[in-house]
């Protein structure tokens, strides 16, 4: 009998140890490592190398990296989409660390780094050089490019820290075409399900609970993976009736806000469901009122104002298959109540608004018909809505949640048309992932300085600086795209 040809097993480094280490411990050590990474970057930026604080920060990164290596047998820091992974375990964002994580993520991205592979035996000195190079390195023309950094690392004699570019499909700021399409399908299916659901009520039918559930799950997935694409879709108009797209948009904004305030994936699902169903009561409002082309009479307004509690009753009609959507009921009832409990419906007893209701209220406030239904009346600029929500306390939104919304949308929300100091016109594609640069979004140039239209495919980070440290482009003014014949949503689909 001939021996079968057996390829030698590929031994993984210290397998036994790797088996022992639980995900939890990687998360914990990984977090410590990242915090050390961030502090070292920060202190190097502020002080000379000899400074005590810098030295302590370097000690700390050296130590945390070494202890991770000891437990794990490997140390890889990887950037993928909007997440950081340590040894393929995704680090969870939470309220106490998201700013730190986001800063590290942005720094790596801007240098065009997809992965930092730390080999055994890395020296403290290597960390110092690597981090200083990261700080000093500005890729030419804002386009992330690793080659320059590689050179400097080699000159600095770094042999234990290897940098790799991001995988091809992982564009620096935009999602890949494929990812964009996945986000689009999720959006389309969610609109279809909502239509089936809300429209079905009028016909005495109900949509499959499974489909609704899947729709919300896919929105949560897409907010976690392709948030920019998905949020971009909220500016599309005319795809379907406004009430359906509005429901999906509120679902998307709610989940995105939820992500920023540290909700878990399953909590995001609960929140998304509440967002998607928040206007379910409108299924009971006569169509001639809902679709009215003329301003509503006071009586008709009153009818519309019944939708929050009508929603509660209507949602009871949905049960029978599956869980009773309690949270959605509460959100439906409360989403037009202001933080001081004015708004509607009026209540008898004082109540404490539920957190999810307040989030849905903020999402709803931003995606409110006058803003989105460009077809009717004068369009309102998204940045103005956001400013109003922040500054006008009478609107009764939870200011901290509005902050989270601004975190998500940036100071210039997606779909905003801006004039740059280069006299180019651009459409905002997404907030800058670096929270410190919320006023410098990622944009698409749609009109050149000469006044010519582009295909809008080039993404530009307004936070990128030239060799002298000056910003390459800055916004000088928000403008009305339509005045220049620009369709904002042309660029988000």
């Amino acid at each position: 009998m001939t021996e079968p040809k057996v390829p030698a097993p590929k031994p993984r480094k210290s397998l036994a140890l790797a088996m022992e280490s639980s995900e939890g411990s990687i998360r914990e050590h990984g977090r410590d490592f990242l915090i050390a990474f961030y502090s070292a970057l920060r202190s190097l930026k502020l002080y000379p190398v000899e400074n005590d604080q810098v030295q302590r920060a370097l000690d700390s990164i050296f130590d945390t990296a070494r202890s991770l290596y000891e437990v794990e047998g490997a140390l890889e820091l990887r950037v993928s989409h909007e997440f950081l992974y340590v040894n393929s375990v995704r680090l969870r964002l939470n309220l106490n660390n998201y700013a730190t994580f986001s800063h590290v993520l942005t720094t790596l991205r801007q240098c065009g780094i997809g992965m930092v592979d730390v080999e055994e035996g890395v020296q403290r000195r290597e960390w110092q050089i690597f981090l200083s190079q990261l700080l000093a390195y500005a890729p030419s023309d804002g386009v992330p490019d690793l080659s320059g950094l590689w050179q400097r690392m080699a000159q600095g004699g770094i042999t234990h820290i290897l940098l790799k570019p991001p995988p091809e499909h992982d564009e620096a700021f935009g999602d890949s075409e494929e990812a964009k399409d996945v986000a689009k399908r999720a959006y389309e299916r969610s609109v279809a399900v909502t239509k089936e659901l809300i429209g079905g009520v009028r016909m005495g039918r109900t949509a499959s609970a499974k489909k609704i559930k899947r729709a919300v799950q896919s929105i949560v997935d897409q907010v976690l993976r392709n948030e920019v694409s998905l949020v971009g879709l909220t500016v599309v108009r005319g795809y379907d009736e406004q009430i359906f797209t509005h429901s999906v948009n509120v679902c998307i904004f709610s989940v995105s806000i939820g992500k920023r305030i540290g909700l878990t994936k399953l909590q995001l699902y609960d929140l998304g469901m509440a967002g998607l169903l928040h206007d379910f009561g409108k299924s009971r409002i006569p169509l001639e009122i809902l679709n009215s082309e003329v301003p509503l009479t006071e009586e008709q307004e009153e009818v519309v104002r019944t939708h929050p509690w009508q929603g509660v009753l209507a949602l009871f009609g949905l049960r029978g298959h599956g869980e009773i959507p309690y949270r959605a009921m509460v959100a439906s009832y409360e989403h037009h109540m202001k933080t001081d409990l004015s708004g509607f419906p009026k209540t008898i007893e004082p109540r404490q608004l539920s957190m999810f209701s307040k989030i849905v209220a903020v999402a709803n406030g931003y995606d409110t018909p006058p803003v989105r239904s460009f077809g009717k009346g004068v369009p309102v600029r998204p940045d103005e809505v956001l400013r109003e929500m922040r500054e006008n306390k009478d609107l009764g939104y939870d200011p901290i949640l509005v902050k989270a919304l601004i975190n998500l949308l940036g100071v210039y929300p997606v779909g905003t048309c801006v004039i740059l100091d280069t006299y180019e016109i651009a459409v905002v594609h997404g907030a800058n992932p670096d929270l410190a640069q919320l006023h410098r979004p990622i944009v698409r140039i749609v009109v050149t300085a000469e006044g010519g239209r582009t295909d809008g495919s080039a993404l530009v980070d307004l936070a990128s600086v030239d060799e002298t440290g000056n910003y390459r482009r800055s916004i000088i003014k928000v403008t009305e795209g339509l005045d220049y014949g620009i369709n904002m949503s042309d660029y988000s689909v």
């Binding site: 700013a99 699902y269 298959h321």
Partner: protein
Amino acid sequence: MTQPIKPGGADESYVVENLLQILWKALSAVQLYSSNNKIYLQAVDALRGALTLVWQRLDELQLQVSESALLWEDKKVLSQEDKSDSIPWTLFKDGVRSLTLSPGVEDREIIAFLHVIKDARLLAAEDPDDLLTLLWEEDFQHLRYGFVEISSDDVPRIQADTPVSQSESTPVSPGEIRGRLLREVEASGDTPEGVVDVDDFHSTLYFLDDWEVEYLTGEIDQEYQQNLRAKVLEILFEVFELQQNTKVRGEIISIIDSFLPHLLGVGDFQSVTLVVRRLRKLLDETQELTPDHRQAITALPVKLSNPTALGQLIQSLDDAAVQPTKDDIADFFGELGPHVLDTVLAWMPKLTNERVRETLRQVAERVAQEHPEQVVTALKTSDTAVLLQTLQLTSSLKVARLVPDFGRLLRHADTEIRRAAVDALGAIGSASAMKQLERSVEDEDRGIRIASIQYCVQHRYPGVLQKVEAVISGRALRGADLTEKKPFFEAYGLFCGNAGVDPLYQMLNAKRMFRRKDDPETRACAALALGKIGTPEARAALEKAKGVKDPLVRNAVGSALREIGL
């Protein structure tokens, strides 16, 4: 525990095939056994071992899913034609087309995955879940799956918007656009706009402060701690109050009607109690209720407390299907009203769960205390089990009002009932209770006779003397043992006074005329009774008997004298 590898080493596909066979066996174990079963545990161990072997050769394991097989590098590694029991089919049917496992999956996730498969197989078409929704909820980190959308619905694609109708003034040529732009910039001066002025823009404005983080964390906690059902119910009642519309109110009543069984099903007694309270409040406080609504609202709690519904509920408590707190249960029954007593009592003997029995006993006691008339009704039942429970309840409660209803029970055919009635009266212990008890000293049941006479002694009830006298002087005690004789003589001694000294003396000394000589036990009892009389005459009689030969009698005389004292 690891599986042995083929001698001479194994190639990678062997290791993968081996893994999937073990996975399939583990699935059977997961389906058949509970998680603390030995077979289950062995299967899980074997699976972990098999995965460990895979990780010695592969960095991750990517499997393709077809209708009847799992493929690895285009090679079938698990082939299962029989759909009813097939892993590939379960995955394929709901749209899963690929599966990627990576190291770490063996810790927890692979087992969770098997449980998901098991659960998914039990789902019906109309269930709100399918394999994909269940997989999603697990949020696997080491197990990825690719899937296709099975539903063939034609969902329209998003297109970029149709071009906006351009007004005359919309610039088209680059020159026009540039001209317009320059004019706009000039007109606005040079202050950039946005939500904030860039000059005073401070990024920390958008970072959350510590107190804000604290606030959010607190709010999230609260979101998940609130009683959502209660909150939704409050909303329903609020809408009911605010909306006068008959249709709306009718709908809310019917929602609540169908909601109640659900609440009970999940054991949310708190919410049910809330409903019942709020309904009562509606009846009391809402003026403009239509007669129909008034009737429907009145009917709701009644429905809850009908014996069948209540029986269901008690059963679910006993099965521990739901486990509300003792207080919640008590509040709930409290709201239902006293007529639940019958049902509760009827269930008491059938309960297996000690905690529930104890709780329901307290419920019953409370009702009985507050509504003795309900106990009177319960005492009329023909169901002996319920009657017995009721009597036990009255014994522990000592409700004096109930005494007149006992006469009938003391003649009940069932010994156990008579006994319970005697105990109840004994517990009540009032003169009228003792009066009822009198006749039971002649009951045909020995236990009942003894208990009755003991209660009379305990409560010092002289009314029983006549009966006792008849008993001890007649034949009734002839065949009785000491245990029975003793309390009768004791009672006699307590209540007869000096009139009893002589007859007892006769008995003690076995000098009764024309009678068979009394046995030593009876004589000893007579000594005991003299001791109870305790007068100088009784003492004198005892002194005279000091010298009797029978040791039992002599002892009894001694202790009786000691009882009287010097």
